[in-house]
């Protein structure tokens, strides 16, 4: 049982780290504001979300072993994930709106071929 929890939890954490790395590479390599925002938004929702899910499995494994105080840790993890799920897309949306309002032209394929 412990092994199953450990495997699932580490799979989730490694998946979250993978999305974090992909998002970081995207922020560095994408051509303009909007594509970079797309990459950065992914690290916060999917990357952090999967890592928190993996940590949830760790605490559940502790609860199964009889550590009742881990319930509070689990509740906090769920709350953190809920707030990240709310705030991260909203802030990405606000940044994209601000970029549009500031007159940033979205990058297009023609532009890349012309340059």
């Amino acid at each position: 049982m412990d092994l199953a929890f450990a495997v699932v939890s580490w799979a989730c954490i490694m998946g979250g780290l993978f999305f974090m790395i992909v998002g970081s590479v995207g922020v560095l390599r994408m051509p303009d504001v909007f594509t970079r925002l797309h990459a950065a938004g992914m690290t916060d929702t999917l990357g952090a979300g999967l890592i928190i899910l993996g940590l949830c499995f760790q605490t559940v494994s502790g609860i199964v072993d009889g550590e009742t105080s881990y319930w509070f840790v689990l509740i906090r993890l769920v709350l953190v994930d809920a707030f990240l799920t709310f705030t991260s897309p909203i802030s990405t949306h606000a940044l994209a709106r601000a970029a549009i309002a500031g007159g940033v032209e979205p990058w297009t394929k023609e532009e890349a071929e012309g340059a």
């Binding site: 707030f83 709310f86 705030t87 909203i90 949306h93 606000a94 709106r97």
Partner: protein, 141 residues
């Protein structure tokens, strides 16, 4: 204004939780990380978010600048008031031991009251600073 619906709904959902989190940081300050300064800044951040999303005019209606200035002074008064209360009860200035029959509880009450003063002052000064900067006209260079 209808095209900003995502920001408006998001702010409406989040602001109560930000205020609640500020109070958690405030009253959890004697057991964990936190205290009056951090709680005051978080409390002010909720109003700054409101002003950013709903406009400075609406924010000033919710929290008039006069109230903010009163908050800034009121917190200092609470802090000093605790000191004078302890003096009136026979102790030194800000000697919390005399606030309750048991010195341990006295220290607890005293720190809570003083931290409340810090919260009120930091909140007032932060929002006053934000109003002062946000109320300035944009310079046409």
């Amino acid at each position: 204004m209808d095209d900003r619906v995502i920001l408006r709904i998001g702010a409406k959902i989040l602001i109560p939780f930000i205020l609640l989190f500020a109070l958690y940081v405030q009253f959890h300050g004697d057991y964990g990380p936190g205290g009056g300064f951090q709680a005051g800044v978080i409390f002010a951040a909720a109003f700054v978010l409101y002003a950013l999303v709903f406009g400075l005019g609406n924010a000033v209606k919710v929290l008039p600048p006069q109230a903010v200035y009163v908050c800034g002074a009121l917190g200092v008064m609470i802090y000093m008031g605790v000191g004078f209360v302890t003096m009136a009860l026979g102790g030194a200035f800000l000697d919390y031991n005399v606030l309750a029959p048991d010195p341990t509880h006295g220290q607890h009450y005293g720190i809570l009251a003083v931290e409340l003063g810090v919260l009120v002052t930091v909140f007032g000064v932060m929002v006053a600073l934000f109003y002062a900067f946000a109320g300035r006209r944009r310079l046409d260079l």
